[in-house]
Amino acid sequence: MVPALADLTPLISAAVTPGVVSPGLDLESSFSAALEGFGFTPAAAHLLWLPLPMLLVLVAAVVGVLVTVWLERKISAAVQQRIGPEYAGALGVLQPIADGLKLLVKEDVIPAKADGLLFTLGPILVVVPVILSWLVVPFGQHLLISNVGVGIFLWISLSSIQPIGLLMSGYSSNNKYSLLGGLRAAAQSISYEIPLALAVLAIVMMSNSLSTVDIVDQQNGAGILSWNIWRQPVGFLIFWICALAECERLPFDLPEAEEELVAGYQTEYAGMKFALFYLGSYINLVLSALLVSVLYLGGWGFPVPVEWLASALGLSPDAPLVQVITGSVGIVMTVLKAYALVFIAILLRWTTPRVRIDQLLDLGWKFLLPIALVNLLVTAGLKLAFPAFFGG
């Protein structure tokens, strides 16, 4: 794999065509330029810059989770004709913070028969890769932590670390429910990872690049009409189903099916370790929704290209004001698209029944995997036949 990736990077750089899209906000170069004005070396300016987007993204991820938890509670209440949280803050918006603080001061119980080290390591291994995957989520041309060459592939490889953590926590709990939950979680994750990777592969083929920024750039030539969802409708559905399964959301929440397994691999967990699982699963949901919007719904792209609007208004796309507006609109669009998908995921959770494990595995292996392979080959064939529409 390593030599293959090394061979591939020159191809990636070759594939980065100078786009028609304007460069947009580049905060790093402005920041570096400002610091160098004070006499810093470029390397020092870079080092000072590095932690800023990371902390910003971390805060954004946590706020995203809080909003999602609140949305989940409010929407589930609306589905069941209840009111939901209403006392903590206006409309109960502070409820998730109250939940988090409560979990922070809860006692941490490690069962006597459990393996203490693995029991602690499990939730950490679940939450770290999920946070780390935010490295490649772009909110604008330069509004991401790092535009690494392997881009979306990094997310795919990181997401396969999570089942190890789930299996670890299930097995180390020394509890029958946890063991079954952990095994189910691992089986489910690995079954849906392959169709997911194949669906991403079709997108990568159309963009000629693994970088998430290039993937979005490739979709934003003509606004909403050039989004990948029109060229990859099957891939979009495969990706969305697999993303729900990877996040263990209903209808695929077998690992923690509460009627059968109490809480699956989380049964023995309390306090902050439980909170880490909770945090991990919601960060993963928001991340998956963001990646769907990046891969299929044009990422930060506005339905009508912002460059067209700017030129219609007689403004240069490179003017500072236009760049700030474009950048902000880009962030809002990314988040808006992602939250539309989060809303669908929440509605699905409260309106669909759970599938059985044999149905789950049948769907993954006997339906989604062949369909994903066919989708990939059809994309390759179409790219050969109509290169203009499928990324050259």
């Binding site: 293959a4 990736l5 090394a6 591939l8 191809l11 594939a15 990371m54 971390l58 922070l104 809860k106 006692e107 119980v109 069962p111 006597a112 028969k113 950490i124 939450v127 770290v128 946070i131 780390l132 490295l135 932590i145 790092s146 690494v148 060459g149 396969s160 097995y171 020394n174 029958k176 063991l179 095994l183 691992a186 089986a187 690995i190 079954s191 990872e193 392959i194 990777a197 194949l198 592969l201 990568v204 083929m205 693994l210 109490v262 023995e268 902050m272 370790k273 909170a275 880490l276 044999d358 595995l361 049948d362 292996w365 006997k366 995997l369 062949p370 392979l373 990939l376 390759a380 290169p387």
Partner: protein
């Protein structure tokens, strides 16, 4: 060195994201009450005294799926360079990938036929 451009951020973010659970667990340790008395540490089993441990033999099916997974996961890893370079490779690469995928489809059909994908 081109391969490693941007990975200093990866390393930094790895440290920051690893610090999140560590800080959370440490602050939990400091803030939470501690009492390790008796029943609390018992394994949960729907209110009963737990019968035996859980480190037991489990269904062989999980191994079958793991084995099939390894085959197809390696396949997708091999296909990634192909997909990125596809626009420069053309028809021949398409036919090669077709043969490669066909071999794996035969493997899938074999596993399917042998019942490796059946749950019960």
């Amino acid at each position: 060195m081109f391969v490693l451009s941007g990975y200093d951020a990866f390393l930094g973010f790895l440290l920051i994201s690893a610090a999140v659970p560590v800080l959370a667990l440490v602050s939990n340790k400091v803030l939470s009450p501690r009492s390790q008395a008796g029943e609390r540490q018992l394994t949960y089993e729907s209110g009963m005294e737990p019968i035996g441990g859980a480190w037991i033999q489990f269904n062989i099916r999980y191994y079958m799926f793991a084995l099939v997974f390894v085959i197809f996961d390696v396949e997708t890893v091999f296909l990634y360079p192909w997909a990125v370079a596809f626009h420069t490779l053309g028809l021949l690469a398409f036919i090669e990938a077709l043969i490669f995928i066909a071999i794996l489809v035969v493997a899938l059909a074999y596993a399917w036929r042998k019942g490796a994908l059946e749950w019960s």
